[in-house]
Symmetry: C2
Subunit: 256 residues, 2 copies
């Protein structure tokens, strides 16, 4: 038996799906990460096509250790969108085959860190259970960047993902998040699919208290990206348009 | 009146205070971040000495736009350690002077992203209030990396910072975090000053339920860094030593 390989969590850029020519990868990721990516011959990912596009950007900085068509790229079983319903453990465990055979294995998400508000956590759990080392490489998470840019409490915060869409449930959830934020002085962070950005902002402005702080970060690290942060009263006084095709991160902190 | 400058949140590496020769900065940070840092003539930071050391690492990749001794470096007022007690708004607002005068201003922390589990949030709030653009640059947060490497729920998580040190309060807080984790299927993330890493691990092993998952990440992105993740029962069966001089991030998720 050879020593098992490691599972490398490789951060992606945050410019997924944006228009125009992508920036050179070393503008957005550290060279150490790009070099690691260039030598991996086995990948697990959300989408094989975008992974190949990522590897072409890698190749332009550090030539890939083998031709792209010889690199094994396997997609994760699809979970329910935005929910953490895990695929069967057997299906995931099988993805660790290359690591068991002694090869280092990369895990890549479509944007940011794998397994954080993203599929892949089940593979990480399976690796730990199998005694395969999990190595995470430095990269950006849009949630962490949005929190830093918000100025809201970074000593205590919660990420809650998506909230319900139906109006009554949504209003109740927003008020519950505000109450939890007040009780624990805890920033609450949420996300939405881009085409519903404006609807979520309107719901937050309708249901939060005037003294509650709200921050919205749009297109972080992208040209034209911005963060606006202020009280609900300030937001109501001066509306801000949000694009419907760029990811946004919302954060709120109740006044005490 | 000139246009105000922007407040740039500049990520630092995670190798603060570690022994040996530091790696070239472009191994650990994207070139885009290093180039931005190289052109800033005004900085706010936690510690002027380590900021100068950072700028020397920047200079070795992209020459600084002006000599180091001509770069203005101002330290943030000291908050209470690990608590979010804010310094007076006047003292913080004064730090924005260079931005008001039209100069871009950098904010740097000792490790990782500024204003996230770190001082600086008050400065970000003051910038938003003054209409100064806040620009966050892509970089790693040890909390986000630890969560990704844990395999625990990355769709719902909370960072709670430090927990009380006295044994009774600590036990109660650990049980409350486990209950919250079970109720909301939410990963709970905490940190400790390094010399208390072992004591916190022992307290978690003593007070959490056997089926609860615990992950500990030590020295992420550093040589010798590792993540161990498993149930409390597994941890109790096979103890893992933790160093007392390297930052660790702890994450737990209750079984449901």
């Amino acid at each position: 038996m050879s020593e098992p390989g490691a599972l490398h969590l490789v951060p992606n850029t945050l410019d997924f799906g944006t228009a125009g020519v992508p920036a050179p990868l070393d503008e957005l990721l550290p060279l150490g990460v790009i070099r690691t990516a260039s030598r991996l011959g086995h990948w697990v990912c959300e989408n094989a096509k975008t992974t190949r596009a990522f590897l072409k950007r890698v190749d332009a900085v550090y030539p890939l250790a083998r031709p792209l068509q010889e690199i094994a790229i396997v997609e994760l079983p699809r979970p329910n969108k935005g929910r953490d319903a895990a695929p069967g453990p057997g299906a995931v465990d099988a993805l660790l085959g290359p690591a068991r055979a002694g090869h280092d294995l990369g895990l890549l998400s479509e944007a940011g860190l794998p397994a954080l508000a993203d599929p892949g956590a089940a593979l990480v759990v399976a690796a730990h259970a199998a005694g395969i080392a999990v190595v995470v490489h430095p990269g950006a998470s849009s949630i962490a960047l949005a929190l830093a840019a918000s100025g809201l409490n970074g000593q205590s915060f919660a990420f809650v993902g998506y909230i319900p869409v139906p109006a009554d449930e949504r209003a109740a959830r927003i008020r519950a998040l505000e109450a939890a934020s007040r009780r624990d002085a805890q920033t609450q962070i949420l996300i939405e699919t881009p085409y519903r950005n404006v609807a979520l902002l309107e719901a937050l402005l309708a249901h939060l208290q005037p003294a509650t702080s709200l921050s919205v970060s749009v297109g972080l690290t992208l040209p034209g990206g911005f963060t606006r942060s202020g009280t609900i009263a300030q937001w109501r006084q001066r509306r801000t348009g949000l694009p419907g095709d760029v990811p946004a991160v919302f954060a709120l902190l109740a006044a005490r």
